[in-house]
């Protein structure tokens, strides 16, 4: 007869420190504190320091004075606010209208637009900005040139180098996010709430105005809030469009403080602390409002197909909206990049330019060392970040949701902290931490790996905890009563069950790491340069057609990752 393992008693024996069930949470907490808390602590200290002599610091409030009491303080604040709120409003409007049209109306061809609406997700933010500079630059922007030609205009109708330009470019890049969130909101709404309005005699528009919109208000508020925070934290558009246009927001101020000679770390840190507080408040409000919207639920009955509004002749207006979106937001940025990548030098489309098309840019890249180094760095970082982050978060999620150890909520909280940290703030904090760090990893890709893992821990947590919560604890208890140790249970039962969520999270982190920009911009130097940074510096140097070619190759790489993902999703049963 085999022996049967007796479940461990709930009381924790202090002598059993080698017990993995206790050791692993402690290690997890240690890793999280190291990744998420230590850099912020350094940032906080750094914001009060000035270097009086090499490696000698004095404590002062001067940094804050320089950051918040200068002649630029007001304009930076105003620009950030207009940029973030304008972009949140525009993104939300576009996303909500799109989501409503495809989810709830009889607009022609709406089903086709669901995948199309999400396509811009594949376009890294840096490329989105570059593509729109190609389109809307007042000097050579294709759209401007075309409009001037068609309407016989004296000057360019649009100038991308302006606050409205920044808002537009950032909004179209964020639109898929708003779209997906609003689609989810429409899907989770009990359709009988609208049907009962119709049965009460309310027309389509009355139902939309009095029921649908009102019911969506809490969700809309939280979507707006998250868009606001994300825009505030973003650096792609502020870097590529804002800085040349001399329109500075908080993220660009931090970048500029770092890029002065000598770098003003103190002022950068003080600015970063302010941005951090702003986004933390935003995230806190967001969490509160999502909890609020959960209270807004009543008894739900059987699932029926959601009702579709009959738009009548208006449906062609809806169709026109979707088509306009497709042409301007999806098609043109890709098309302009593709076109530019085949040009010897940047030129407006013409028969003349057509005859000059060449694949020179690509052949040039083939022997261009910095490109291959950056490509290699980006790929290595994407693969490593995804693997490290997912293993780490799977363990942490398991501890938080399954171990029932006292204080495991602290781990949950620690793993959530990085979501409040804007990318450029994290970059700033890591510089302060690693410049003086005993192990010389500053300037290598390892500091980038640490940065990326830290940034994407919250994303990993979301997918990992989602799938962990679905695993009934009896499945693990059955393994324990069959004699499996803690580690064996995790390896043989928990981990295989986690696999679908794990793979989905892995792919997602892989993609976002590959295109990461706002953290890398401060940390990637020389040999640790990644693709997005290479794009940025080469664009600044004016090598725009080569930049376009790099962009196309980058998009192709991302597309192949997505293609592999779809192939895999069939095999490991990922729900998309």
């Amino acid at each position: 007869m085999s022996t049967i393992a007796v479940p461990k008693s709930a009381g924790i024996n202090l002598g059993a420190f080698r017990d993995p069930a206790l050791l692993i949470p402690l290690v997890g907490a240690g890793v999280l504190i190291y990744l998420a808390v230590l850099p912020l602590l350094m940032l906080f200290i750094g914001s009060f320091q000035v270097e009086v002599a090499p490696r000698e610091f004095a404590y002062t409030l001067k940094n804050y004075q320089a950051a918040y009491a200068s002649q630029y303080t007001y304009s930076t604040f105003k620009n950030s606010l207009i940029f973030a709120s304008g972009s949140a409003a525009l993104t939300f409007f576009l996303g909500a209208v799109m989501a409503w049209l495809v989810e709830r109306t009889n607009t022609p061809l709406r089903v086709v637009f669901v995948p199309i609406a999400v396509v811009p997700l594949i376009l890294p933010g840096v490329l989105e900005s570059i593509a729109w500079i190609f389109l809307l630059s007042p000097k050579f922007g294709y759209l401007n040139v075309a409009l001037m030609y068609v309407f016989g205009l004296e000057s360019a109708p649009f100038n991308v180098f302006s606050l409205p330009g920044m808002i537009w470019v950032h909004s179209v890049g964020q639109m898929p996010l708003a779209f997906l969130m609003m689609v989810a909101a429409f899907k989770s709404m009990d359709p009988s709430l609208e049907e009962s309005a119709m049965m009460s005699g309310a027309s389509t528009w009355q139902t939309l105005r009095r029921i649908t919109m009102r019911l969506l208000m809490p969700t809309s508020a939280s979507v707006l809030l998250i868009l606001f925070v994300r825009t505030l934290e973003s650096f792609e558009t502020p870097a590529l469009i804002g800085i040349p246009a001399r329109i500075y927001v908080y993220t660009s101020e931090i970048f500029l403080a770092f890029n002065e000679y000598p770098p003003d770390y103190g002022r950068g840190a003080a600015l970063a602390i302010g941005l951090l507080l702003l986004s933390a408040v935003g995230v806190w409000l967001y969490n509160r409002s999502t909890k609020e919207s959960k209270r807004f639920q009543t008894v739900t009955g059987k699932a029926f197909r959601p009702r579709q509004f009959e738009l009548g002749a208006w449906r062609w207006l809806g169709f026109a909206f979707l088509m306009t979106y497709f042409v301007f937001v999806v098609l043109m940025p890709f098309a302009v990049l593709l076109w530019a990548s085949f040009l010897p030098f940047f030129a407006t489309p013409s028969w003349d330019a057509l005859s000059k098309l060449t694949s020179e840019n690509y052949t040039y890249l083939f022997t261009f060392r910095p490109f291959w180094d950056a490509m290699q760095n980006s790929i290595i970082l994407a693969l490593l970040t995804a693997s490290v982050a997912m293993v780490l978060t799977s363990l942490i999620a398991w501890i938080v949701y399954k171990s029932r150890l006292p204080g495991s909520w602290i781990l949950d909280f620690l793993a959530f902290v990085p979501i409040t940290v804007p990318g450029i703030v994290l970059g700033m904090a890591l510089i302060l931490l690693y410049v003086a760090f005993p192990i010389p990893i500053y300037g290598t890709i390892w500091v980038l790996l640490i940065a990326y893992v830290t940034r994407y821990i919250p994303y990993g947590m979301r997918t990992a905890s989602g799938s962990i919560l679905q695993i009934h604890s009896e499945l693990e208890e059955a393994a324990a009563t069959s004699g499996a140790s803690w580690w064996n249970t995790f390896k043989r039962v928990t981990l295989p069950l986690l696999r679908p969520g794990f793979v989905a999270g892995w792919i997602y982190i892989c993609i976002v790491s590959f295109r990461e920009f706002s953290t890398s911009v401060l940390l990637a130097t020389g040999e640790s340069r990644v693709l997005s940074i290479l794009l940025f510096t080469m664009f600044e140097q004016g090598q725009v057609t080569i930049v376009a070619a790099i962009g196309i190759l980058m998009i192709l790489t991302l597309l192949s990752v997505v293609a592999i993902f779809y192939k895999l999703s069939g095999r490991v049963g990922i729900q998309t």
């Binding site: 049965m199 309310a202 009102r214 008894v299 009955g301």
Partner: protein
């Protein structure tokens, strides 16, 4: 009055094939009557109701509501849901969580074409809430109501517009057993008082039997049988109906002879049984003999009567309070019977069961 003629509604299912959810359904609900569509889930009853409401557009047929055509595939008429004079209660009640009780009920008047004064609205809301015994709760938020209160509120909202007909889509299925029983009575009382033509959809045979003037049993998109509660219970026309309404013993067999006057003999594994016959059955046909558990008489001694009396022994006897659920082993067949709670038997005891010929119904066996 509701009249449905040759209604067809097809859906495309997940694999892309067309499924007829409603397949040439016709029926008529007379003014002021309570009509129930009864059937298992997926039988097409809810789809039929939603077609009448205007929430689904049918593929074929005609629907008339109180003398007016609201849908006709011939003339192409389709009146949108909000223009039909119909009140409806949803299974989920569909109470708007962002509005108060008052505003939930007032909604139909707030969106109506004719301008109704606030005073009038308040008065009519009060009346409607009184009808469902919810008076005085006007200022509560809808989300603060219990399940039973939400149900009443949904009813008040459906009635406040004084619609010509009332559609109820499984309104009681989200309530607990006790409350359901009470709401059944209240709902029927209210319907009688208001004399409102009502179409009720349910899968619960008790609800259907206790409330309806007429029941239509549906299966796979067609009405299999229509009639009064008693008729449906006592004279099911198909094996499906007999099975779906109440518990039934079913014994397969073959019709050997019909003796006229609706009587005949059926050869079964437990011997030849005298049965009532459905018209149109001829000798040689495969049939199923159905007999209700409460119709079967159990004798402890061999009775003098010998028609349809079979010897067996008690397989199980479960005391359920109101009656004894007693199953009897007849060798090849086990019959379930409901006996008076006074009957005292023990397992294995030999007994004689009598299946009164008038209570045994021979039905054509379902394919």
């Amino acid at each position: 009055m509701i009249e449905v003629k040759e209604l067809v509604k097809t859906f495309i299912d997940g694999t892309g094939t067309q499924v007829k959810a409603v397949d040439h359904v016709s029926f008529k609900v007379e003014e002021g009557r309570f009509y129930t569509l009864l059937g298992p889930s997926g039988c097409g009853k809810t789809t039929t109701l939603r077609c009448i409401a205007g929430l689904e557009k049918p593929n074929e047929g005609e629907i008339n509501v109180s003398e007016g055509t609201v849908y006709s595939s011939v003339s192409g008429a389709f009146i949108p849901a909000y223009k039909r004079e119909i009140g409806m209660v949803f299974q989920s009640y569909a109470i708007w969580p962002h509005l108060t009780v008052m505003e939930n009920v007032a909604f139909p008047m707030r969106v109506s074409k004719e301008k109704i004064s606030n005073e009038e609205i308040r008065k009519r809301v009060g009346e409607a809430l009184d009808q469902v015994e919810m008076g005085g709760l006007e200022d509560r938020m809808a989300t603060q109501l219990s399940g039973g209160q939400q149900q009443r509120l949904a009813l008040a909202r459906a009635l406040v517009r004084r619609p010509k007909v009332l559609l109820l889509d499984e309104p009681l299925s989200n309530l607990d057993a006790k409350l359901r029983e009470r709401m059944r009575m209240e709902l029927r009382e209210l319907q009688r008082r208001l004399q409102i033509t009502t179409l009720y959809v349910t899968h619960d045979q008790l609800e259907a039997l206790s409330m309806s003037n007429t029941i239509a049993v549906m299966s796979s998109g067609v009405i299999v049988q229509q009639g009064g509660p008693r008729e449906i219970y006592d004279h099911p026309k198909t094996q499906f109906v007999a099975q779906f309404i109440g518990s039934t013993n079913q014994i397969s067999g073959q019709l050997t002879a019909s003796a006229g006057e609706g009587l005949g003999k059926v050869q079964t594994p437990i011997g030849e049984l005298s049965c009532s016959l459905l018209n149109g059955l001829s000798p040689g046909a495969s049939v199923v003999v159905v007999v209700r558990p409460e119709s079967i008489v159990v004798h402890r001694e061999k009775p003098a009567e010998s028609t349809n009396v079979i010897e067996g022994k008690i397989a199980t006897a479960m005391f359920l309070g109101e009656y004894v659920d007693c199953s009897i082993d007849l060798g090849k067949v086990t019959l379930q019977t409901h006996q008076s709670h006074a009957l005292q038997v023990r397992r294995g005891q030999p007994v004689w069961v009598e299946l009164p010929a008038g209570e045994c119904l021979a039905l054509p066996a379902d394919a």
